[in-house]
């Protein structure tokens, strides 16, 4: 008998960074070969822990290395990409897996059963000549000994979980579905083998707002039901505010600030995170004061010396050109796990109106 495991997040996972991390990433690097022997470092030494049941958002401008990090973690980089460092996956049964050392069958197992990814640009993830049914069956047959009927049942269950009607969707070709439906099919497919980690790359970008809302609501629901952990990549900060327990900001291939979602949005301490937040207009309330970040991210081939953000940073001093600051713990506020890679973090404060009835809980 097959049922979708509906272990609540509290039994399968403790939220909020307790216990042993599910995924532990240390000094993770990705290089791309760009021809004639040259390489660029798209990810430059990332440390990140993903705890059971947790949802971490990776935010940052285009080209900061978010997708590359996600692909690298699941060993899905294109041929010219090379990952190094240490990525450990702690299975529920106590086994530790060195992801960068996996190959062959173990790697395939890891990819769907332990961790799965929903890619940026939903259409490309499907084979256009196969119906959704074939996609579901192929995935399950490659990884399980399920019978046809068992696969049908399982696929149907997951499709209903993402609020799709299996009888209609299973017999459709990808192009016959709307963007939002395709995105939800992908989420259902990625959950077929009950992975403990789901990586979603821009899950709602390019979707209309009402469709985006339905995908976000579905993500809330399935996460509540299935209790998996997720890393989701988005340049939309509002989405991070809604879906993340923790946020990590990437800039020029590094994580430059990380902390709980409330710390990051109400008390960002890296000028780049602060700049991103100030550039997003809220929808409720009066016309806000907006500010943009001057310039754009640096070319990976010619990073500025010292802190890579210094040419755009209004807090920059001469000292900032000397070395690229490591992540430093923010020590002047309660709680831990808030870190920023800025030597002047003590001077960085967000001035903003927090709605008075909401702003005091911590």
């Amino acid at each position: 008998m097959i049922t979708v495991t509906t272990t609540s997040s509290s039994t399968r996972a403790k939220r909020g960074g307790e216990g042993k991390p599910l995924l532990s990433i240390r000094d993770f690097k990705v290089e791309y070969r760009t021809g004639s022997g040259a390489t660029v470092q798209a990810v430059r030494g990332v440390d990140l822990d993903l705890f059971p049941g947790e949802s971490v958002a990776l935010v940052g401008e285009s080209g900061c290395g978010k997708t590359t990090l996600g692909l690298g973690l699941l060993r899905l980089l294109p041929r010219l990409g090379h990952a190094s460092g240490q990525v450990t996956f702690n299975r529920g049964d106590g086994t530790e897996i060195d992801i960068l050392g996996l190959d062959g069958r173990d790697l395939r197992q890891f990819r769907w059963r332990d961790a799965a990814m929903v890619f940026q640009g939903a259409m490309n993830a499907f084979n256009p000549v196969l119906k959704i049914r074939a996609h579901m069956h192929d995935t399950m047959r490659a990884h399980t000994k399920f019978t046809k009927q068992e696969i049908e049942d399982r696929a149907g269950e997951l499709l209903r979980l993402v609020r799709l009607e299996p009888s209609r969707v299973m017999d459709s070709y990808p192009h016959e579905l709307s963007g939002g439906m395709r995105q939800r099919v992908l989420i259902a497919m990625s959950l077929l083998l009950e992975p403990e980690v789901l990586i979603l790359d821009e899950p709602t970008t390019a979707l209309d707002i009402l469709t985006q809302r339905s995908v976000v609501d579905v993500l809330h629901e399935v996460r509540e039901r299935l209790g998996f952990s997720m890393i989701f990549i988005s340049h939309d900060l509002s989405l991070a505010a809604e879906l993340a327990d923790r946020v990590a900001t990437m800039y020029a291939g590094r994580i430059i600030e990380t902390g709980g979602v409330r710390d990051m949005f109400y008390r960002p301490r890296h000028p780049y995170t602060l700049g991103l937040i100030k550039a997003v207009p809220p929808i409720v309330g009066d016309l806000p004061d907006m500010e943009s970040i001057p310039g754009g991210p640096p070319s990976l081939a010619a990073l500025p010396p010292g802190c890579t953000f210094n040419p755009r940073c209004k807090y920059a001093t001469e000292e900032c050109k000397e070395e690229d600051p490591p992540l430093l713990p923010i020590t002047d506020e309660p709680g831990d796990a808030h870190e920023a890679a800025c030597i002047h973090w003590k001077d960085v404060h967000l001035q903003r109106e927090v709605p008075s009835d909401l702003g005091n809980a911590s």
Partner: protein, 353 residues
């Protein structure tokens, strides 16, 4: 009051552009579709009119008619009071110069084989705006400076592929400015830009609006962007080819009346974790957007609308009528019950603008 009627503060000024009862019908395999169905809009000099709605709602089709790039199937497009399709050839050319269209994707609209200097000087020379190549080059520097590409000399010899998305969009705007337009139609012009860059491009457009008095037909699916750019102007919300709500932008954003506008605004996540998690959201009855080839009867939003009333909503097509001062909506229930139909404590009735 209709969308065409002027609010008191603009009553003195003649509108730059009006769309009067304009429709566009496309003949497709599935049969004729009304991509734009009988819309009325007007833009005044130096003012912003935002056109918002989901993809396929007819925004681009309406904008192309406003720009004179497509002829309406019926209705009138007037520029400074004159029907553009009744203009003599020279006058039509003048109209086309006065109204510039800035596309969503600057990469597709800039010629990849031309340098930035050539891109900007070509229209100047072609239309005889300047007399010499030297004067054209000087004007190019001025225009690049105006769109914050400074020092301009660094950009003149570059090709579009050597620029970032934001820089390319600035070049597209600089090119649009070569002929001193009175109206800029910006169709999703900032949608492809990163958040950080989007605000600076919008600030630059805002300066053109304020300093040069350029009017804007500003098209976006992002209501937060419409709010930011069009706060002092008006916003029209489109759904399946029709305008379903119209009014001053602060009212549309903070006190929407049409169930579709309300659903759009509720659906938007806020860049504030506490707020976005506690925001009240009514669910729609269906997620599917009907096809234009098979429109639902009566109010086309009825299969999805949380306020749907059997017999009323699927009967006649609701007209756009005034709900309260300056704000109109096309909804039977809101027209009948007024804002009482909305019963919403979370949302303040009057914007604090």
């Amino acid at each position: 009051m209709s969308a065409l009627e002027k609010s008191p503060e603009t009553a003195g000024r003649a509108p730059l552009m009006t769309l009067g009862g304009v429709s566009q019908v496309f003949h497709t395999k599935a049969g004729p579709i009304r991509a734009v169905d009988n819309i009325n809009l007007s833009v005044n000099p130096g003012e912003v009119l935002c056109l918002v709605g989901e993809s396929g709602s007819g925004k681009t089709t309406a904008a192309r008619m406003a720009a004179g790039l497509a002829r309406p199937s019926s209705g009138e497009v007037a520029f400074e009071g004159t029907d553009i399709w009744a203009l003599k050839r020279d006058d039509f050319t003048n109209f086309r110069r006065s109204v510039q269209y800035v596309h969503q994707d600057p990469y597709a609209s800039l010629n990849p084989t031309r340098t930035i200097q050539q891109t900007i000087t070509a229209p100047l020379l072609k239309h005889g705006v300047v007399k010499s190549k030297k004067a054209a080059a000087e004007r190019a520097v001025e225009l690049l400076t105006k769109v914050d590409l400074t020092p301009a000399e660094n950009y003149l010899s570059k090709y579009p592929h050597q620029l970032s998305g934001g820089q390319r969009q600035r070049v597209a705007v600089a090119r649009a400015l070569t002929l001193d337009p009175k109206l800029i139609i910006a169709d999703e012009s900032t949608s492809m830009l990163d958040v950080s860059i989007r605000i600076s491009v919008l600030a630059m457009l805002g300066r053109l609006r304020d300093d040069l008095g350029v009017g804007f037909l500003f098209i976006t699916h992002d209501l937060a962007i419409a709010k930011y750019f069009g706060w002092h102007g008006k916003t029209a919300v489109m759904y399946l080819g029709r305008i379903v709500e119209f009014g001053p932008t602060p009212k549309i954003i903070n006190a929407p009346t049409h169930p579709y506008t309300r659903a759009l605004i509720d659906a938007i996540p806020e860049p504030d974790p506490d707020l976005t998690k506690t925001k009240g959201r009514e669910s729609l009855r269906s997620l599917e957007i009907p096809s234009l080839a098979h429109l639902p009867s009566g109010c086309t939003f009825h299969p999805r609308c949380p306020l749907f009333e059997d017999g009323l909503c699927d009967g006649a097509v609701p007209e756009l009528v005034t709900i309260r001062s300056g704000q109109s909506a096309a909804c039977h229930v809101v027209a009948r019950d007024g804002v009482a139909a909305l019963d919403d404590e979370a949302r303040s009735d009057e914007p604090r603008a």
